[in-house]
């Protein structure tokens, strides 16, 4: 009960803070137009673009996941023995597919 009251209290406080600090949404049409130095747009702003850092994200996750699994693995490696070694081998093999894909996409090329 107490937890619920605290949670609700914080939610209401956060909501009040947001209401108090957000600017009024009363901008006129010419004010809310994008700034183009007096110019105008030709097409709508909704568009798709290539998220280029995604290969970097892929490599980051591959190496980070490897480390997350390796720490607990290192603790039990001596007691589990060859079974643990085989499991880690399989895990690294799967992760390296991601790294190879990143390589093909040119993430290791210095630009």
């Amino acid at each position: 009960m107490q937890t619920l009251i605290i949670l609700l209290g914080w939610t209401v406080l956060a909501w009040l803070l947001v209401r108090a600090t957000q600017p009024p949404a009363d901008a006129t049409a010419p004010q809310s137009a994008p700034f183009l130095g007096g110019g105008t747009t030709g097409t709508h702003a909704w568009q798709r673009y290539h998220f280029r850092p995604y290969t970097m994200t892929l490599v980051f996750i591959a190496f980070e996941m490897e480390m997350m699994f390796m720490y607990p693995w290192a603790v039990v490696f001596v007691s589990e023995g060859i079974k643990a070694l085989a499991e880690m081998g399989m895990f690294l093999a799967i992760l390296s597919v991601g790294i190879l894909y990143g390589w093909r996409e040119g993430v290791f090329r210095w630009e």
């Binding site: 049409a29 010419p30 110019g39 105008t40 747009t41 030709g42 097409t43 290539h50």
Partner: protein, 301 residues
């Protein structure tokens, strides 16, 4: 009340709308202490309209005026015998009691285009493509010039009061993400006096694009801009022009006090392939007279 008085002691943020022949005067004026050159109207409290604006720029000027947040004030500087000191005093005085001045919008409070869509979001087309919500077509796909992916192309007209381009220049650019795929000149820049090509002003324009406001201000005052190896901030090989080196060489020449003699490049060939920030750096590395000649090239042909 006390807060607004405290705010009025800060340097006055001025957005300069520069007319024919006034570029040098305004650039030198806004480098004074007590004034600050705002690079977007949203950051400004005062709109300085310098020179006699041609009739075809009036609508664009209205758009820029309406984008200043309230409270705002417009000052005109059209008489060439009014000294920069007098104008600076007028600006600071308006900035001090901005709360009492405030101006209403010049343009009517209507969306620039009518709502024409069908469907819940007015997209009007199939799936995520096509349609003309608010009277503007959706961006359609085209081949990315880097790797041939089919990506959306966004078209906008930039200018004539874009602070990173010479005053008067209207560029129609088509972008994929932030890469320019096409650029055409819609209106050439306003003619400016020969002083606009002065190396310290050209260097200051590049430094402003690089985000180095302090060095830019010192350069305009004719002092050493300071900063360690400033030209290293410009990538090598950017915006190379036959006989005038690349943008880094030109910045080095400006900092060394040389007037770079640049043949007018073809802007519609120079800009495509560059990212937006690189393109603006390249534009800033060209003296205004070279851009004026380049913008008039298609007319001559």
């Amino acid at each position: 009340m006390r807060l607004s008085r405290l705010a009025s002691r800060a340097p006055a943020p001025v957005f300069g709308a520069i007319g024919p022949g006034w570029q040098v005067a305004v650039e030198r004026l806004l480098a004074r202490s007590g004034l600050r050159r705002a690079l977007t109207p949203r950051d400004a409290g005062i709109l300085l309209v310098a020179g006699d604006m041609p009739g075809d720029a009036a609508e664009a000027l209205g758009r820029v005026h309406d984008q200043l947040p309230h409270p705002r004030a417009t000052l005109r500087w059209t008489v060439s015998h009014e000294t920069a000191d007098a104008v600076a005093d007028r600006i600071v005085a308006s900035w001090r009691d901005l709360g009492a001045i405030d101006e209403a919008d010049l343009l009517p409070d209507q969306p620039p285009n009518e709502w024409k869509g069908v469907g819940p979001h007015g997209q009007g087309g199939k799936g995520m493509m096509g349609g003309t919500p608010y009277g503007r077509p959706m961006a359609m796909t085209g081949e990315d010039i880097r790797d041939g992916l089919q990506l959306d192309r966004y078209t906008a007209r930039i200018g004539p009061f874009a602070p990173m381009l010479p005053p008067g220049l209207v560029l129609e650019v088509t972008l994929q993400g932030d890469v320019i795929v096409a650029a055409t000149v819609q209106h050439p820049p306003f003619a400016q006096p020969v002083d606009a090509d002065a190396p310290e002003l050209c260097a200051a324009r590049m430094l402003t694009i690089l985000g180095l406001d302090g060095p830019a201000r010192r350069a305009i005052h004719g002092r050493r801009p300071g900063g360690i190896w400033v030209r290293g901030a410009v990538p090598r090989g950017l915006g190379g022009i036959e006989g005038a080196g690349d943008a880094r060489d030109r910045l080095a020449a400006f900092l060394g006090g040389d007037r770079a003699a640049v043949t007018a490049p073809d802007l519609s060939e120079l800009l495509p392939g560059l990212e937006w920030s690189e393109a603006m750096l390249v534009m800033a590395s060209l003296p205004p007279s070279a851009i004026l000649r380049a913008a008039r090239l298609p007319e001559a042909a």
